[in-house]
């Protein structure tokens, strides 16, 4: 169990209020018509499943109900960074 700082509510709240919403920075393909089956499979099903510091999405289900980004260790569960969408992108992420 851990606490998460909601970047919108500006409060540190119990993890129970939040729901995980998967790996971050998976961009929907811009050219769906041209995608091969392998590329679709990678977008829909394949995941990094990284062991270590992992960028992921959470939603404040029982709070503001907004989605945001969290960098969290999948080894220790320690939260290293929290950001609203746009503040951190796949290009400038730490």
């Amino acid at each position: 169990m851990f606490l998460i700082d909601c970047p919108y509510c500006k409060e540190s709240r119990d993890q129970n209020e939040f729901s995980p919403a998967g790996e971050a920075f998976i961009a929907r393909p811009q050219n769906p018509e041209e995608l091969s089956d392998d590329e679709w499979a990678d977008y829909v099903f394949y995941r990094t499943n990284h062991k270590g510091d992992h960028w992921e999405q959470w939603v404040h289900t029982n709070g503001c109900r907004k989605y945001f980004l969290v960098k969290r260790s999948t080894i220790s569960h320690e939260i290293l960074e929290v950001a609203a969408f746009g503040e951190v992108t796949s290009e400038n992420k730490s």
Binding site: N16, D42, Y46, R47, T48, N49, I75
Partner: protein, 416 residues
């Protein structure tokens, strides 16, 4: 080392009160093997055993980074059943069930397989429709299954709460009589011992840190105990499958989550069967030692930490008390988590990969223990013949590209 256990060996060692022989020899790696299995859990050890026994390949090493059976094999709630909905899944799990039924004799090791039956409860009309559909599918596939109503459940399990006033009243269940439990540690030890008797090296404290790949073909592995060459490598590393795959430059359609379980202190016999409920989400049986073995669900977030959230424990305890109010004052003894690799369709991957000679057996998610012998068996044949065993064909990794998923989520993906 004693090769075979028998009543005579028991009597001799027992009466003589002598030191018992070591059950499994400790091996150091050789420089080359025909096949290397990465992961000394139940599935990996079973793979090695069937490679030696049925495929005639005995120059095999099982590399385990910790100790054998120390991962999910020793962390699950030991439930064994084969009442899956889809043809592909039920064929695979039924294959496993048939191997379980002769396993202790086959391995010359008592895995304490106890066919005490499993009830999968239904709490709503829709649950009951799904149960009837699954039971009918099971019967068509030659898997024993019946639908029972709440009166029969109460007759069989007098301590269960079938009151209509329950928040989620029990309406009925599916019952598989051949289902049951086994001793999970014993399964790992039995496969390890039987495999090493056939010439397989079981190497513990040996972590694979990289692959040797040349021209798209596997050449061997680098480990904490040195480099080991092999023509074929099978990865059976459960929650760490993505980590191992990454070393070979591969991605997998799995994500790792913590799955929790807990046991109570030992009590007199009170529950003679296994009770599972998807709707309230808990499952419980009583071990031969007397403790209640209770399984919870997974946390939704990715983790490699082998521990989960308290809210999952709370949710599961609430579910168990809903079913068995009598357990409200039972004290819990231990609680733990294991890391399970979950596939999008809640079905495993038993498959070759883009690297020639490298095979993966992963994605068993929350329900791998019951499949231990069957999984090892079909994976051994897949590696030996470089061609998927017929039961493994639907479980090729390409199903995520073709779209031919095996949708077990509704039928079995929640409680295992």
């Amino acid at each position: 080392m004693q090769k075979k256990y028998s009543w005579y060996s028991l009597l001799k060692a027992g009466l003589g009160n002598q030191e018992w022989d070591q059950a499994i020899p400790l091996s150091k790696p050789k420089s080359k093997y025909d096949v290397i299995i990465i992961g000394g859990g139940g599935h990996g050890l079973a793979t090695a055993y069937y490679l030696a026994k049925e495929c005639g390949i005995t120059n095999v090493a099982v590399l385990e980074k910790g100790y054998i059976g120390g991962g999910n094999t020793g962390r699950n709630t030991t439930i064994i059943r084969s009442n899956y909905l889809r043809d592909e899944a039920s064929s695979l799990y039924e294959h496993s069930m048939r191997l379980w039924e002769g396993l202790s004799e086959d391995l010359n090791f008592n895995v304490m397989f106890s066919q005490r039956g499993v009830y999968n409860l239904g709490h709503t009309l829709q649950d009951m429709r799904d149960i009837e559909r699954r039971v009918n599918a099971n019967v068509l596939n030659g898997v024993d299954a019946v639908v029972v109503d709440h009166k029969e459940i109460k007759e069989q399990i007098p301590i269960i709460n079938t009151s209509k006033n329950a928040r989620y009243p029990i309406m009925g269940a599916s019952f598989q009589a051949r289902a049951g439990v086994a001793r999970h540690d014993g399964v790992a030890w039995g496969f390890a011992r039987a495999a090493s008797n056939l010439g397989v090296d079981i190497i513990q404290n040996c972590e694979v840190i990289d692959f040797e790949i040349d021209g798209g073909r596997i050449k061997g592995v680098k480990t904490t105990q040195g480099d080991i060459m092999a023509d074929r490598v099978g990865c059976v590393s459960a929650g760490h499958s993505s980590v191992v795959a990454k070393m070979a430059g591969l991605r997998l359609p799995v994500e790792s989550h913590p799955l929790q379980a807990f046991v109570s202190e030992a009590m007199k016999p009170i529950l003679h069967t296994v009770v599972m409920s998807n709707a309230v989400h808990g499952y419980v049986s009583q071990s031969d030692k007397g403790d209640l073995v209770i399984g919870a669900g997974i946390d939704g977030y990715n983790s490699y930490a082998q521990r989960g959230s308290a809210k999952i424990v709370e949710h599961c305890a609430a579910a168990i008390l809903e079913l068995f109010p009598i357990f409200s004052r039972v004290r819990m003894n231990r609680q733990w988590g294991g890391i399970v690799d979950v596939c999008p369709d809640a079905c495993p991957i038993i498959s070759p990969t883009k690297v020639e000679g490298l095979y993966f057996n992963c994605g068993w998610g929350t329900g791998g223990f019951k499949a231990t012998p069957g999984s090892g068996n079909v994976f051994a044949h897949t590696i030996a013949q470089d061609k998927q065993h017929e039961l493994a064909v639907p479980f090729h990794i390409d199903r995520f590209t073709s779209g031919a998923l095996i949708d077990e989520h509704g039928a079995a993906g929640v409680a295992h």
